[in-house]
């Protein structure tokens, strides 16, 4: 499988990259880790005339804190997320999610920015970023802007990114110390996309849920933020009856496709099972 011909560009600054993407328009695609785009190009499902390799933009690498926020450069790889002590302390959920993504070789090159910006409903990070209340920092010809992950996803492979824009960083408000977290992912084998997955971050106070946020992966055209389910759980002791009600509310917002991972009905139920497990594990970690 040989991709179509293209012209290769390797800019050394964000301004240069954005300039190229703007000037070349629809014919150009940014290249991050390439493990979504290159397979698409080999199948000729993508035939960009120009590839703008972002690997030379060293500003887009690394994990740092900014006040209460953790800021992760878009070109930071899954392997680097797993190895980051700062993240292990502040947002341990990310290590758990990254280690479920693809396999070691893919994690060495696959980036957080690519995972969140591609708009693939099978990707794991988008629902996690909705769960965490993350914000994406975006650069375009007109300058910089920010958009909440919860407002970013509009359809399969369809996001709020305008032509010529790239995601430069992911900004995550650090959950409070002592929070519970879990990412439960049902998959057929290592490296597979989720049949269904659920991300949970919660805090407990006096045996009751003080705050809770839930994201669901690959059970709709976009990642889902299960706001109503979390609202039901707030103030509860995570008793079985309340969890059941919340799971029903989460299942109600899913609309999974039928594919080799299962029927829509099965995948909806599995989203509920993953949520039930994630809630229990998150609680056990508080």
């Amino acid at each position: 499988m040989i991709p179509g011909a293209f012209t290769y560009h390797r800019p050394t600054s964000i301004a240069e990259a954005v300039g190229l993407l703007t000037d070349l328009g629809e014919d150009a695609r940014p290249l991050a880790g390439g493990h979504s785009l290159i397979p698409m190009m080999k199948l000729r499902l993508a035939t960009p005339a120009h590839l703008i390799d972002l690997a030379g933009l060293t500003d887009l690498k690394g994990v740092a804190t900014d006040g209460n926020d953790v800021v992760i450069g878009a070109m930071t790889t899954q392997h680097e997320l797993i190895g980051s002590d700062l993240l292990a302390g502040k947002v341990p959920l990310l290590r758990e999610v990254s280690s479920h993504i693809a396999d070691p070789q893919v994690r060495y090159v696959g980036t957080l920015g690519g995972n969140v910006a591609n708009g693939d409903p099978g990707n794991d990070m988008p629902a996690v970023m909705m769960c965490l209340g993350a914000t994406y920092e975006i650069a375009g010809k007109g300058g910089k802007r920010r958009i909440a992950a919860r407002e970013f996803y509009q359809g399969a492979y369809f996001t709020a990114l305008e032509p010529g824009e790239i995601v430069t960083a992911i900004r995550i408000p650090a959950p409070p110390a002592g929070h519970g977290f879990a990412y439960e992912k049902l998959k057929r084998k290592v490296g597979d996309y989720a049949t269904a997955a659920a991300a949970v971050v919660l805090t407990m106070s006096g045996g009751r849920v003080a705050s809770c946020s839930i994201g669901l992966t690959n059970v709709a055209e976009t990642p889902l933020w299960a706001e109503e389910a979390a609202r039901i759980l707030n103030g509860s002791a995570l008793d079985a009856a309340t969890v059941k009600k919340a799971v029903a509310a989460a299942e109600a917002i899913t609309s999974p496709a039928s594919d080799r991972r299962g029927t829509p009905q099965y995948r909806t139920k599995m989203a509920g099972v993953m949520l039930t497990r994630a809630l229990a594990r998150a609680k056990s970690r508080t």
């Binding site: 293209f6 012209t7 290249l31 390439g34 690997a55 070691p104 070789q105 893919v106 490296g191």
Partner: protein
């Protein structure tokens, strides 16, 4: 389409070449440099037969363009044995533990295991299995591959290798 000039190190030697931007690293290695150790298996970034070491990372060379490797240090299975032909400890381990049958996945397995042991010189069995989860073998059932990596890890650490009871 204009070709790009690239310069990289492959198995310790500097290589200068002209490549089409769309040339995948695996095709460059196999067809221009004649390093046919890394294999083309699935071509869809699943099987890991094309695994090479690129700047200290295991990568699937079917999913990297040769131009992306410009300036990099690449190691393939051909770069494992010593200059005098003596086997790398992992090659020896795969032979001693019968870690292969047809051998198609072996170059990728050994190259991947090399990086795994660089990062984690004494991995648990679970860590080995997860560490090679991006490499498929359709013959062995993995048992002897895992044993081979345990053998190599023990030898590198200078401790006697004890085969786990089955």
């Amino acid at each position: 389409m204009a070709k790009s000039q690239i310069s990289l190190t492959v198995n310790g030697k500097t290589v200068e070449a002209l490549v089409e931007p769309r040339t995948l690293l695996i095709h460059f290695l196999r067809e221009q440099l004649m390093f046919t150790g890394p294999h083309i298996g699935c071509e869809t970034s699943h099987c890991g037969a094309c695994t090479v070491d690129l700047d200290g990372k295991s990568v699937k060379s079917c999913t990297v363009f040769a131009v992306q490797a410009n300036g990099s240090d690449v190691r393939t299975i051909e770069g494992m044995a010593a200059a005098d032909g003596s086997l790398h400890v992992l090659q020896e381990a795969f032979r001693e533990m019968h870690g292969l049958q047809c051998g198609f996945c072996t170059p990728g397995m050994i190259t991947r295991a090399y990086r795994l042991l660089q990062e984690n010189p004494s991995p648990s069995e679970d860590e080995i299995r997860m560490g090679i989860s991006g490499n498929l073998c359709r013959c062995t059932g993995y048992q002897n591959i895992v044993k081979a990596i345990q053998y190599a890890a023990a030898k590198i650490s200078g401790v006697p290798f004890r085969e786990a009871a089955e």
